[in-house]
Amino acid sequence: MKSFFLALLKSRAGLFGFLLVLVFIAGAILAPYLGLPSPTRSSLTARMVAPTWTSLFSPGAHPLGTDELGRDILSRILYGSRTTLLIAAGAVVLGGVVGTLLGIVAGYYRGMVDRILMRIVDIQLALPLMLLALLVVAAVGASSQNLVVVLALTSWLRYARIIRGQVLALREREFILSAHAIGAGTWRIMIKHLLPNVMTPVLVIATLELARIIIMDAALSFLGLGVQPPSPSWGRMLADGRVYITTAWWIVTFPGLAILLTVLSVNLLGDWLRDYFDPKLRTAR
């Protein structure tokens, strides 16, 4: 753990990404304690108030302005991040774990297991993911847990396909044969020999997927199938603020910026993690 932070301190981009992620997480956790107006309280007298930077610390002010119903945007972004980040992180972890394991299983066993898994992937890829997500959400309802599962469902196949290809190449490497030669069991070969060697692509896909999932979550909210109003979500803020872009630019800009910064910070952190897990690059630095 200590070496982890030491290595992190040496990488400017990694540290920046890490700190930014920390800020978002802190914002999400601390949102109720910052003395902000409630994210759901609307005020007809304070509709579409422009951002005022000077009012950052005066109570009752709106540093990022208010939306068309007079709700405080900063507050909505922070409260929105609680659901958005939780759902996105949950979906990435669930989809990543399931997809990676299935990819390793398919590549390792080949044969029938592989054919069945890959046909499922093909079939699912043939369906538009959005449509699939819509159908499932419409069927089971739009709770946070359901959203995590639905978004993971659209995500696992990306891992499974790429990891399977990697494993197919890896299993021909002689250190895998050597593991067979000492009598190592299937589980040991998968966890000790295959998994560490596919971590690079897994992390790359995961960072890309996180960005995609945040946007997909936004799209689902936009279509009214995400987190239900009046709970704030970044996607819904984007969707609702869209029409006011010419008159009140801040309504759509700040949630957009929040998505952008989240995706950026996760990408930076992901790049760094990928290098960190590669022993070759770790010692080179």
Binding site: R115, R173, E174, F175, L177, S178, A179, H180, A181, I182, G183, A184, G185, R188, K192, H193, P196, N197, M199, F277, P279, K280, T283
Partner: protein, 306 residues
Amino acid sequence: MTMEKTPQKPLVIADRLCKTYGGGRGFLAGSTPALKAVDNVSFEIYPGETLGLVGESGSGKSTTGRVLLQLEEPTSGDIIFKGQNLTGLSKPLLKPFRRDMQIIFQDPYSSLNPRMTVGEFVGEPLVVHGQGGNRSERNDRVAALFRRVGLDPSFMTRYPHEFSGGQRQRVCIARGIALDPALIVADEPITALDVSIQAQIVNLFQDLQDELGLTYLFIAHDLSMIRYLCHRVAVMLRGRIVEIGPCEAIFENPQHPYTQALLSAIPVPDPKIERERRPIAFDVNANPTPADAVLKPVGERHFVLG
């Protein structure tokens, strides 16, 4: 160690081994022509002996080694190790035998797990077979193995990419001898190494044989090293053994035209000899081996396919 065994009893017997690839019909894949990688190969290796296996790429020598260790299942034939027939044994039944036979590969770059420290890699066989006790006892054993193959035990926590080819091969050898095996299949273990390192590894193989009584199947295409290392040599061509015999008989008195061609093709590091050397040509396609050919004795323990 070798004294306990009677020299007449082979450690391992390969009996009419065949390995065929393809030929089946796959789902949505159509049929592929069958390739006989190993074709009716029989030999035995005695305790403490080094049997050299030579042949060109595609001759089936590597496949023979892998089939012998049950890393690939033979299509037909038997492998008898210490009197026990290994063919058809299930994975759990085979596991105790895995302790007794190990393999060293050609490419020390792809035979180490890049994401595992070399210490963990060398100690893995001990973990798998529940030997070596707790973590610190196991560490001591791994350190001893490192010293045994000429590596500094302080390297144990490092990753493979920090090592040169020769050092990596030493790591592989340390892992290979961790469980005190009887038989080691060495599949071209020096081919990928730098010339100035090859002699070090060859000497290490010999020292280990002297001290631990190891038995080797040494697969190579460098015949001069084979001559230096082996007691007996088998020459493979297109999946079959065309000649087998004591090293001296093969090198001094080769009988099969292919063996003769192979021997005449080795470049000699001496310009005077080299200018006079005229390689004998051998066209495999013009001289196909009859399918019903069998190994016939031509001298003391010396057999030729014909």
